[in-house]
């Protein structure tokens, strides 16, 4: 739990600063959008969090979002598949992608960076190919499906016209709770944490490390696929050429900010979600606060991540020197 104090603190500071600097920040509509964006990015960040915990990386998330996000409406509108079939196809596609990554990394011992970098290029290229680079969307049909992305749930005492919690928020809560239980309460979560630190020692303890790593890439691709569906439902009109572009980097940044070390073996789900929220508040701040030029968005985000990571490292060093001192006595 100690690990998320830092990120929670930074989040609150940025949140309050933004509220002070912009009068439109705390408006119900803006909050609703912020919660929605946080939910969407939170889901994909949790996925990559699992991969990072195994000391891997997944660069293909943005392209998987593009593939699934553009693929689902394409299957429904262009190929006129029925909803269950289309969902099944999309689900199978994400599982295949996760399995492919996992097997290449564990069985052929390829580096995760290389495998998923190729994925990043391939899935976007594929999507642009089969859609003919045409804009994809659901139009005004598929009401039930669109409710998943656009639906809002009223809070008691507040009229829905003023503020409603987006449905994806509930999806995030569900995903986060399940992920958290999986990581902290099951033997498989412990296996992931162990092999992320030291795969060899984990293997010497009888853990099927390969299977666990494949599982992490499956989870990551699966959540990226889910994210793809929710993202397309939100925008309802996506161009294969740039839909989901850079999202993998937002997800990785959120996971790292949330306490996942790229060296593997550490991270909390709550931290990752707060990391994702921080990223969205930052982007929101840059858009809303007049005197911050919008063009420097990446510079600000990059700087904040750097500060967060440096602060984390400093805290860790202090903690470890304390432990050394304690063990000397």
């Amino acid at each position: 739990m100690k690990k998320i104090y830092g990120i929670t603190g930074i989040f609150m500071v940025v949140f309050i600063l933004t509220a002070l600097m912009s009068s439109s920040f705390l408006t119900p509509y803006n909050m609703e959008r912020l919660i929605l964006r946080t939910s969407l990015f939170g889901i994909i960040s949790i996925g990559v969090g699992f991969v990072i915990i195994t000391s891997g990386i997944d660069l293909s998330i943005g392209s998987v979002i593009c593939l699934i996000g553009c693929g689902l409406p394409w299957l429904l509108t262009k190929l006129s598949l029925s909803m269950p079939i289309a969902i099944l196809v999309v689900l199978l596609a994400t599982l295949m992608i996760g399995l492919l990554h996992g097997l290449l990394i564990t069985k052929l011992k390829l580096q995760p960076f290389v495998v998923t970098l190729c994925g990043l290029l391939m899935y976007r290229g594929l999507t642009r190919g089969f859609t003919g680079d045409q804009t994809q969307g659901f139009g005004q049909v598929f009401k039930e499906l669109r409710w998943l992305g656009e639906g809002r749930v009223a809070l008691p005492g507040i009229p829905l016209e003023t503020f409603g919690l987006p449905v994806p928020f509930f999806i995030l809560v569900l995903v986060a709770i399940l992920a958290s239980i999986f990581l902290n309460r099951t033997i498989y979560g412990r296996y992931l944490l162990a092999l992320g630190r030291n795969e060899q020692a984990a293997r010497y303890s009888g853990i099927h490390t390969d299977k666990m790593i494949v599982l992490a890439y499956l989870i990551c691709a699966g959540l990226a696929g889910l994210g793809g569906v929710l993202f397309i439902l939100d925008v309802n009109s996506a161009q294969p050429v740039d839909f989901g572009n850079f999202y993998e980097l937002y997800a990785i940044a959120a996971a790292v900010l949330g306490g996942c070390s790229l060296r593997g073996g550490q991270g909390t789900i709550l931290g990752v979600v707060i990391g994702a929220a921080l990223m969205q508040v930052l982007r929101n701040m840059i858009t809303l606060v007049d005197w911050i030029p919008t063009h420097i968005e990446y510079a600000v985000i990059g700087a904040v991540i750097l500060v967060g990571v440096v602060a984390d490292e400093v805290v860790k060093r202090v903690a470890s020197s304390r432990q050394i001192a304690a063990s000397r006595q």
Binding site: T186, I187, R190, N198, Q200, A201, Y204
Partner: protein
Amino acid sequence: MNPAPTEPLNSVDEAGLSPPLLLEGRGITKSFPGVKALKGVDLKLSPGEVLAVIGENGAGKSTLMKILAGVQSHDEGELRIDGQPVRFSGVEDALGNGIALIHQELNLADNLDVAANIFLGREPRRFGLMNTSLMHAQASDWLQKVGLRVPPETIVGHLTIGHQQLVEIAKALSVNARVLIMDEPTSSLSQHETEQLFAVIRDLSAKGVAIVYISHRLGEVKALAHRVTVLRDGENAGSIEKQDIHHDQMVRLMVGRDVSQYYALKERQTGEVIMKVEGLRTPHAPEHALHFELRSGEIVGVAGLVGAGRTEMLQTLFGVAPAVGGSMWVAGRSFTPQSAAQAIECGLALVPEDRKQQGLILEMAIKENMSLASLRRDQRRGFLDFGSEQDIADRMIADMRIKTPSDMQQAQYLSGGNQQKVVLGKWLAMKPRILLLDEPTRGIDVGAKQDIYRLMEKLAEQGVAILFVSSEMEEIIGMSDRALIMHEGRLAGGLPRAELSEQSVMQLATGGDRP
């Protein structure tokens, strides 16, 4: 050893009469988390002297050598070279002062040629480019000085270990080393290579190069050293001059007590055969099929030189280096070992040689390390059983007397002995039938070592079969009911306790015939 009253005299010595000391250490102290490795050690070295530093594992030899060579810095005490106090900022600094350390594991780039290795980082240059021809010419000179007749263009990886070591020595000499520290230089050499190395050492000594020679092989020490300094538990245990160097004297100073006390040497009742290895082939030496049996309650030592394939054999038995042929039979099941999970299911456990890489997850808590192997067994439909995890930790910390402030302490902050106990605890929680131990007492202090011996004996009494690899001859002879000796990937033979001696083991380990 009472340095205090001689101190004023010493300075007079340095000024005039006796030959000046080349290197001197006074009251060297060094602490690591959880362990005080050196507690005020003194050391003297004259030009041309061959000084053997002996002591058991964990006595502080390696730490002292690392301090002399600038790898680590000491906490207290003083180092002097030619009478001048020095403090090394790093290896470069020590090298600059003429002190070179040749590690047990050689530090050569085996993809480069001999000349490139000798001059690594100091390549002769012409117009800013490497002057290869000059480099090769100079390398030839240095090779000649160490009696190594190979062309300087030879890729180091193609040389034998013995020749690689000579390359290391040539490299050290080429930076004008006046003190050469050699850490267990013969541990992986053949008889012939060892003799070649000794000739080089004697030659260098005659030319005034001082040698600090660390070895467990007391026979070599007797043959080579002018003087022996013995360390025990991080302190000077004594010093022996050339004429007084005897095996017994050295052992007495090293152990500080009778060896018989150290090892119980009890007759043990062994039970029925519980493991048969039937033509097992390791990926390391697939040309040799391994055959042997283990009985319950039996402690079997595995001896051999470094590189004989002992570790690889244990890894194959345990399934982490899957067998390429043959099978093993354990308590009614016959199989070809393919994974650690399978081996664990059959009641095997392996305490690996490389504690930090293979035994422990250093950043995880003691408790989490100890439960790692039993998580699967103790799971509740996939969920962690925190209660049983706590039980294991409490029981093992108490049973094995692990010194730690809490069970949540990260394994990396424990001393070597306590780390080893955590690894043992992890496996004892699984109640193994067959316990494989790879160098179980390497790098741990004497107290913890004895704890581990007692534990091995206790487990054997309970019917556990123990197969342990050790490079310490005394351990093999002192602990084994029977020993298996390996040579170049094959089982060279087995010796019952009655026939175990340093000589009979070495004979087989070096490829000789049965004595």
